[in-house]
Amino acid sequence: MGLAVLVLAALSLVTVAVEAQQPPRSLLLAYGNVSAIGAEGGNVTGLVATLNEAINLTEAGQYDNAVGLALSVLNQAPALARQVEQMRFIEAVAYGALGALAVGALTLLYLRRRELVGSLWLRFRGGDRVTLGGGRARGFLTDSEVLAVLTGLVIVFAVFLAAHSLTGVEATQFSAIGLLGPGGRIGGYPTSVAVNQTINLYVLVYNHMNRPIWFVVYIYVTNNTTPPPLPGSPLLTYQRVLLSNETWVAPLSLRLNETGDFRLVGELWMYNPLNLTLTYTGEYVQLWVNATGG
């Protein structure tokens, strides 16, 4: 059964036809470099924007211009990598100095607490009247039990911070794809539409891989229940390089021009930044829609 689907609109972002060209090798290399620098903590916002521009140009068939942009990224990358290395060194020294300063200040404060707190308190409270108290404590930071709990919290926090700074990366790495309803939020998904009625949805992609990642989303409309990755050519392809922790929401509009039950599937693929091959992430979203006549 032939399935005909009319795509009405697709976004300000990158939307390409089924027969998307394989990206130029230089663009992939540039992406690998930028991703590596991003993984080291470098600010690659500008380079990622250039990469996305190059991807747009590739999709528009302006192959040479895309290669030009990729080469400019490759030229900038080494200097930025050196800068990141220097920044990491400066950061380590600054953290050490700040830590030593904080420890020194706290030690001094503790050793001179009687002079400092006593004279300040006397200055502001000297005129107040004193009577014997009822024995009910009121001090938050002068209570030994509270201080013991706070010390425990500080130790836990310090261990976490030290582990985080030593490993240099966050432990959890994942990506996510989601389908949002017509209002750009979860819910309100269409389940039954008339033939040729416009379906407005949004595709959401989130990058938590701790480095910039080139994501590719394949959109299929099918009437079978085959588990992804689906065979054959996708109806639509969205692609974009996302910064670490970046969320990308892309509008998706389409119309079904035949009656029946159809399954809209969005598969999340990514270019592996280490070997630069297109890899299925194992993540997908799907929505069953019943197209009715009239």
Partner: protein
């Protein structure tokens, strides 16, 4: 006559004795007398008086404040300005710091503003006097109430046009904390305007 005292053992006894002798004496007078008796610097004695006040062994009474503005402008109101500064600093750091050297401060202030400040402001608003709860109870309630209140803020935000996103969460959490701190400050001011033993 001057004599050398052990700060931890004898000084508290000297201070208690001096307070018993001269009821409603001023802090300055008390410190002066004990400092002379113990042969210690005034700041050392003042520090011990401060600790004894915090532990509930002494009461410190201030002349009643005429209104809340005077309370907030006094040393008793410093508490409000410090907590307000921490809350606003948390807001600024969470909104502005996205990376770099200040990230640990973002973690610290973010954790405090979510896990402590909302509950602390509720506890202060409910128990403004200061000695109704033990300090450890105050700390435990502050953390526990924060864990209870913050999800409720999220639940309410879910039904608003803004949704559960960083900026609405941070702003509403800050607004709630500031509102409760202000209620607490007004209640403290009201309590501080009531004349007590030495001023009746």
């Amino acid at each position: 006559m001057r004599r050398v005292v052990d700060v931890d053992k004898d000084l508290h006894g000297l201070i208690r004795a001096a307070v018993s002798r001269g009821r409603c004496t001023t802090v300055n007078q008390l410190v002066e007398v004990v400092s002379r008796e113990a042969g210690l610097p005034r700041s050392w004695v003042a520090y011990e008086v401060y600790l004894m006040w915090k532990r509930g062994e002494l009461n410190i009474e201030h002349e009643p404040f005429e209104n809340a503005v005077m309370f907030l402008a006094s040393v008793d109101g410093v508490w409000y300005w410090v907590t307000l500064a921490i809350t606003l600093a948390s807001l600024a750091v969470v909104m502005l710091v996205k990376g770099g050297l200040l990230m640990p401060i973002r973690y610290l202030l973010g954790a405090v503003s979510v896990l402590f400040m909302p509950g602390y402001s509720i506890v202060e608003a409910l128990y403004p006097r200061g000695d109704e709860l033990a300090p450890l109870e105050r700390l435990a309630l502050s953390i526990g109430l924060s864990l209870a209140v913050v999800p409720l803020v999220g639940l309410i935000l879910n039904y608003t046009p803004w949704g559960i996103r960083l900026i609405p969460v941070v702003v509403s959490n800050t607004a709630l904390t500031i509102a409760l701190l202000t209620v607490a400050a007004l209640r403290k001011a009201r309590y501080a305007s009531t004349p007590r033993d030495c001023f009746t």
